[in-house]
């Protein structure tokens, strides 16, 4: 009976937390174990395809960072060709731990070439309280207002990277969704599945929440209309081809390709989308199960708030479900990733070939009408390969679905080349 008492009130409270407490160190007084682990996301360790490498740099007035992650553009120049004419071609780095999310966003070279909207902050800072304040207590209003501010102005409203309050209810510590983008995105997805008026915070199960909190940010997105409303393009479904259908229907484009003149799209970190197509999601395995596995600290088992690559933490992340030695688990991950990497390279080569063909056809005077078909193939091919390239598990989250997406990319690139040669 006594034990029941404890169970009902498992935390020893030092300070009172309310719905306006953004500072994680305050929460940390009640939950020192989680807080200490949370702070360790500053660590930088590289894995074959993930983690991140600490690259030293000399700070300057535009960018005070003395350490950044390795440049993906230098690792693979084909990316510059794919993104020609877009901010990503100037600076794109391997992502690193949560502790860096705010500074990396503020100081990325992409900020200097284009004036970014306040919308960006949705996923790079603890915006829950700032949103409420900007909306005079109304979260959604605040979201809309901040979206429309210039980044430079909006950034003044935030202080911390993602913090406790962004995932937790201050009294019960239960998980909750604080991001309007996800609330609306998941509602449109559910609607497409026939579930109307889906309210994630009242209708999701705890196990779903263990992934949804991550889905708040680790998703493909775009800025809709002049209001720059952050939107997750899921109303036709969450698969890569369904998302492309959405963009085809709305006719949206991120930019016009500098070398080919094609109206193209940029895919971004669709971890949630790819995970949802994999066998783990299907088996009820959540993001947190692998990226925040339970860890024993003293007599207590808690969630490892040092969110990172599971390859750096295989025994806790995998071994309770898979009784393989760590070396074997690592080999299994890398076998899947190596295959994906090979297919990704095949797809990037095909795309680069297509871009070169359109470019030269254009230079030798082909008309827009003549280039229409080839450009359309480029738009599709590019979106599909970028979808897998931008996804950060190198195919692990859904190996076969990643491969399927890449077959669509290769087919489009090569058919685009055929189309160029059909020009009469």
């Amino acid at each position: 009976f006594e034990r029941k008492q404890e169970a009902r009130n498992p935390f020893y409270r030092v300070v009172d937390l309310d719905d306006d407490t953004t500072d994680p160190s305050v929460w940390g007084q009640n939950f020192p174990l989680q807080y200490d682990l949370y702070r360790r996301t500053v660590d930088q360790v590289r894995t074959r395809y993930g983690g991140s490498e600490a690259v030293p740099r000399t700070p300057d007035e535009v960018d005070p960072r003395s350490v950044v992650a390795q440049s993906r553009l230098e690792e693979d120049p084909r990316l510059k060709t794919m993104w020609a004419g877009y901010a990503f071609a100037t600076d794109f780095r391997e992502e690193r731990g949560h502790a860096y999310m705010l500074e990396d966003q503020i100081f990325t070279g992409r900020q200097r070439v284009v004036q970014q909207p306040g919308t960006c902050l949705h996923c790079h800072a603890s915006v829950y309280v700032p949103y409420k304040q900007a909306g005079d207590g109304d979260l959604i209003k605040g979201f809309e207002r901040v979206n429309q501010m210039p980044f430079a102005e909006a950034v003044k409203l935030v202080k911390h990277p993602v913090s406790c309050i962004d995932c937790h209810h201050p009294e019960t510590m239960q998980l909750r969704i604080t991001r309007p983008g996800f609330m609306e995105g998941i509602r449109s997805l559910k609607a497409s599945e026939g579930v109307s008026d889906y309210d994630v915070n009242t209708m999701a199960t705890r196990q779903e929440m263990r992934s949804f909190v991550c889905g708040q940010c680790h998703v493909e997105y775009y800025f809709k209309g002049p209001e720059k409303r952050l939107t997750y393009p899921w109303s036709k479904g969450i698969r890569s081809d369904q998302i492309l259908d959405y963009y085809q229907e709305t006719g949206f484009r991120d930019w016009v390709h500098a070398e080919t003149g094609a109206e193209v799209l940029k895919a971004q970190h669709p971890e949630f989308e790819m995970w949802s197509q994999g066998i783990h999601a299907r088996s009820g395995v959540a993001c947190s199960d692998c990226h925040m596995p339970y860890v024993r600290v003293g007599a207590m088992k808690i969630s490892d708030h040092h969110v990172r690559s599971p390859v750096l933490n295989l025994s806790n992340a995998c071994q309770t479900c898979h009784r393989w030695p760590e070396s074997e688990l690592k080999a299994r991950v890398e076998t899947i990733q190596d295959r994906t990497y090979q297919m990704r390279n095949l797809a990037l080569d095909a795309l680069v070939d297509l871009i070169a063909d359109i470019k030269s056809a254009r230079e030798s005077g082909a008309s827009d009408e003549q280039l229409r078909l080839a450009r359309d193939h480029q738009r599709k091919a590019q979106f599909f390969v970028d979808f897998i390239e931008a996804e950060n598990s190198m195919g692990f989250h859904a190996p076969q679905e990643a491969a399927r997406t890449l077959t669509l990319s290769i087919d489009n690139s090569r058919r685009g080349q055929v189309a160029i040669r059909e020009i009469r």
Binding site: R3, P10, M173, Q174, R206, A299, M300, T320, C321
Partner: protein, 153 residues
């Protein structure tokens, strides 16, 4: 004195339950009385159970928990009620040969087992285990990650 008669009553009830109907013959044949002990080999008397016995011997819990620790609720009364009912089903199944293959734990019994985990590991899972406000659907399932603790494949 009181307690002893109660026990005896319960045991008879259990035997009756287990031996009831078709179970009668089986119960004797399979040394049904052993059902009422805590000795794991008792369960193994029944060859249907021998796989699980063998798997338990290999498990991390062989030194920590016997079958009954995980498959019957704590407390005298519930314990023997569960046994009586399971005893009946098992005897029935054993005799008729009509039961799912491979065996699957029934939801009620999984419930018993999930409780058993907490009975021993209350302390360590205090923070992660379900809390007020969590709906039943939201309860953490130990088995999801630790399905092999009692039976090492």
């Amino acid at each position: 004195m009181r307690a002893r008669t109660l026990t005896i009553l319960l045991i008879t009830a259990a035997v009756a339950g287990a031996a009831g109907g078709v179970g009668g013959y089986t119960f004797v044949y399979a040394r049904g009385a052993s059902y009422l002990t805590n000795d794991p080999s008792a369960c193994a008397n029944c060859h249907i159970m021998s796989d699980h016995y063998a798997a338990w011997v290999k498990s991390s819990h062989r030194t920590a928990a016997v079958c009954n620790d995980c498959h019957t609720p704590p407390g005298l009364v519930p314990k023997y009620m569960t046994k009586a009912s399971n005893g009946f089903w098992h005897s029935l199944g054993f005799t008729t040969g009509r039961f799912p293959d491979p065996l699957r734990i029934k939801p009620v019994n999984l419930e018993v087992t999930e409780k058993a985990c907490r009975a021993c590991h209350q302390e360590i899972v205090r923070q992660i285990d379900s809390r007020p406000g969590h709906r039943p659907a939201d309860r953490l399932s130990c088995i999801k990650c630790h399905s092999e603790v009692g039976h090492m494949e």
